[in-house]
Amino acid sequence: SLQDGKVIVWDSFTTNKEHAVTMPCTWVMACAYAPSGCAIACGGLDNKCSVYPLTFDKNESMAAKKKSVAMHTNYLSACSFTNSDMQILTASGDGTCALWDVESGQLLQSFHGHGADVLCLDLAPSETGNTFVSGGCDKKSMVWDMRSGQCVQAFETHESDVNSVRYYPSGDAFASGSDDATCRLYDLRADREVAIYSKESIIFGASSVDFSLSGRLLFAGYNDYTINVWDVLKGARVSILFGHENRVSTLRVSPDGTAFCSGSWDHTLRV
């Protein structure tokens, strides 16, 4: 998703653009793929999350089939489909998260508790899991029960905004990246922070984090244009990746775990 109001779906092998959608608002901040791969959801300063079914038919305009699903009172910072194409979880600058039914656009559950903008969210990995974690400008990461709308655990050890949260592959822990230049690992069953990934030489905020398939490596993109790779168990940095010419704003490991992609303010996506 781009800040000039477009959302682009890429083929990562051929580097061709497969689809491009122009959004009515200029700042798209969040996008997500539906589990089936047949639709995408995106939103931003328009305070909404819209779902676009993907079509390869050149005669069909994707914008025409757009469905507005979520409505917040401030910008949409993150969105994610749940286990099916039918429900979407959103996080917003209005301090709340919400669960929506895609078909009817109905609000199914709302999650109140953050004291400031919610910047990120991630769903627990297991199919039976019904929790998700969110991070916000109130320096907190909160774990929510999707059915009751209750916050079940909260963690406040970061010293600044939590920009990104990602569950550990086993679902028993999650990592967060923050403007305080650290990434931290929180164990859910021990209910506390168990590791900090930081170096004195790293002074810029971490904007995005993701784990490798086994959870041994934590990839984190920073505002100093680099990507640091951390050994999750040892707490030490394994590698530093240079290449971007501006802030790394987002980072995601592929589902098969063979590669990860980073997006940056330098207008590029790198695999």
Binding site: G113, Y168, L217
Partner: protein, 80 residues
């Protein structure tokens, strides 16, 4: 009778001046304090075990054969 505004409380939790909000915050904290916790030694051991088990199937740790890697740099083919 109008309620006097409560003095600002300086605590880590963002507790509002409103007594209703403060009550809710206390309830939430009580609930969070009451959850079952396991020891970090056990939690860390479990994370370690999961990681070790999955390490064999993690492409970033094990590497992928060059033949199947679509991003491998292609070497020019010289025709002799």
């Amino acid at each position: 009778m109008a309620l006097l505004p409560l003095p600002q409380m300086s605590s880590k939790e963002a507790i509002g001046c409103d007594i209703g909000q403060a009550r809710q915050a206390v309830e939430q904290l009580r609930m969070e304090a009451g959850i079952d916790r396991i020891k970090v030694s056990k939690a860390a051991a479990d994370l370690l075990q999961f990681c070790m088990e999955q390490a064999k199937s993690d492409p970033f740790l094990v590497g992928i054969p060059a033949a199947t890697n679509p991003f491998k740099e292609k070497k020019p083919c010289a025709i002799l």
